[in-house]
Amino acid sequence: MSLNELWFVLVAVLFIGFFFLEGFDFGVGMSTRFLAKNDMERRVLINSIGPFWDANEVWLLTAGGAMFAAFPNWYATMFSGYYTPFVVLLLALIARGVAFEFRGKVENGKWKGTWDVAIFLGSLLPPFLLGVVFSGLLKGLPIDGDMEMKAGLFDMVNIYTVVGGITVVVLCLVHGLMFTSLRTTGALRDRARKLAHKLLIPLAALFVIFAVMTYFQTDVFEVRGLPLGLMAVVGLVCFLLAGMFMSKQKDGWAFGMTGALIVLSISGVFVGLFPRVMVSSISDAFSLTIHNAASGHYSLKVMTIVALTLLPFVLGYQIWSYFVFHKRVHEKEHLEY
């Protein structure tokens, strides 16, 4: 495997890690709006992701940093091309991050209500926008010979990308609901699992619609038909198993299945893209690839050594932090947020 390929995989892994981890944060954040019946339940929900959400969000920052270091042209084209969606994404992430910290600081209904809106929108908009962005990468964007992406609103936001965005939102929501049923007790836990179960069919429908549209709107099935077909079969099995585990109340296993669906979906995007990183709708020759978008060999080599040295530690202490907080969050214990 060349270093360019390795870094493509590493960036993919960082995004997969991000969607797997922050995915359930987003889901929990969204569900505070309709799953929690009162302030205490809302607090339990927020506290269930309390120790984790910040570190989970770092996966996105690291993915961005890795793109910058390994594929500067990809970073430059995508971030400047998707300027306005990224501004909204940043505003949402900002509001959400401080909301967790600020919400519980004042005992006042209006105060909490304001931050609840921030948590909801801050958890809903990022997966939607990132879904729109990633489906856009597959569909193709007006990227010219200078690698400049000059996209109008409808190049970025169209039926295909919106379906992609909604799919990611629902996927994160189901994943977050399963996380909730894994981390809470009693009625909240049961409600979360039941809602997740109900949402499985709509989620499957969204996946099918998105796959059909992908078949007609992109070239990824022509290029990578076999691996994507296999992944779809595995995805189907995960769906069935998820439904089964949910009805048997095996929350851990069901959470594993929703996580597997996230891993499959995001890797599907990267498999479809490879060896491109952004598809140009103007000309195939203008597409950004792991070669024309990449840093030089020396830089990639240095970054490889650094990343492969640090990643085991990062994974180690992050897993340890989940182990430390493996107990379910309970209304009667001390709630930090």
């Binding site: 309390g50 120790p51 984790f52 910040d54 570190a55 969000e57 770092v58 920052l61 690291t62 940093g65 890795a66 793109m67 910058f68 270091a69 390994a70 500067p72 042209n73 970073y75 430059a76 084209t77 995508m78 971030f79 400047s80 300027y83 306005t84 501004v87 940043l90 505003l91 992430l93 900002i94 509001a95 991050g97 401080v98 967790f100 910290e101 600020f102 600081k105 004042v106 200078d146 690698m147 400049e148 840093s295 030089g296 020396y298 830089s299 240095v302 650094v306 990343a307 640090l310 990643l311 990062v314 202490y317 992050q318 932090s321 430390v324 907080f325 009667k332 214990e333 001390h334 930090e336």
Partner: protein, 467 residues
Amino acid sequence: MDPLVLARLQFAATTIFHFFFVPLSIGLVLLIAIMETMYVVKGKEEYKKMAKFWGKLFLINFAVGVVTGIIQEFQFGMNWSDYSRFVGDVFGAPLAVEALFAFFMESTFIGLWIFGWDRLSKKVHMICIWLVALGTTMSAFWILAANSFMQRPVGFEINNGRAEMNDFFALIGNGQLWVEFPHTVLGAFATGAFMITGISAYKMLRKQDVQFFKKSFTIAVIVGLIASFSTALFGHQQAQYLVETQPMKMAASEGLWGESGDPAPWTVYAHIDSENEKNNFEIKIPYLLSFLSYSSFSGEVKGMHQLQTEYEEAYGPGDYIPPVRTTFWSFRIMIVAGCLMIAFGLYGAYLAWRKKLEQPNKFFYRCMLWGISLPFIANTAGWVMTEFGRQPWTVFGLMQTKDSISPSVTSGQLLFSLIAYCLIYTALAIVMVYLFVKTIKKGPNAVADSDDHSSDPFSKEGYHHVS
């Protein structure tokens, strides 16, 4: 409006705002780590209370620092895509390492620290806060490694029309980094320390929890004094380094148009006329600029006119003189603020040492309260000087600011983001100050009280508070 102006305005606004919170986080977490270590070593509950109380303020601040940092990571690509393409090969690496090494560390261990009081042993909990402190400091190191490359590009070669890294160790061994990093980080330690001394002084003035705040003041004033004094020392080093590597910035920060003469005097005040490229009125201290530049009482410093000629020969025709008035005054504002910090620190440490903190000393306590602002002023002014003084370059000698922006981003988009960021940042600032004041007014005991309400009275922690 000109996209370049808007992009620069946005970078300045978001970065300055972000850098109110970052140094405060770096400084506060160090002091909290010290306090918690004293708790673990001495076993006295009051140190735990201290770590918890200052921890509340730290967490409010940390949250804002983290979220405003996300913009920083993204805005190179969003607003400065040509810059990102040109230097990404070199500049991207420290940013990626920062995320991988520092961001993961601080975010994971802060979660463990906040939620782990009852779940981790005392020692492990203490190690967590030290790892957060290490993470924040390492974050500063890597981002400053990237900034140092902009000030003094090293470890690269021009290939395929862009800068490509060819020596990673040159990048982290950059002389600029090793004067800039200690100067910045020590300034950050001082920022945290002066926040604690200022708030403690206010509380002592109001005669609330005097013992608690006296102890906090004593710990913080020692850190604050050492940190601000060392910041000045490294600042001196940095000035000398500047004369060698970016003489134009030095000349501009001195308002020095012609030759300085030997020995060179230091200009305290100048009425700068940038249009006619001269100063109308100056107050000078003899020998001092020679001392600042070379640590000796002789030596000439080059002026802007001569440097302009030299730069034209080296880089082609163009205007290489940065905004002189901004550079000149920001430098002086930083120095005055820094000197006041050292003076306040000295007197505060003297009072603590002679055990005179409890005697009514209203004037000094008020000074310390207002002194909270000094490191913020110094940090901001220092960065304004550093970044304005480098103009017209983004990467000195390699790439100019006007060539760095994103060609595909329109002024409309930039205006939208600028307004949106400014609005949300203003809201954040208001909320943050409100929460700071609220937390401070409640004091350290209220923090423990509010814990009681939500904690289980039968748990160890709850039992302890009740008893």
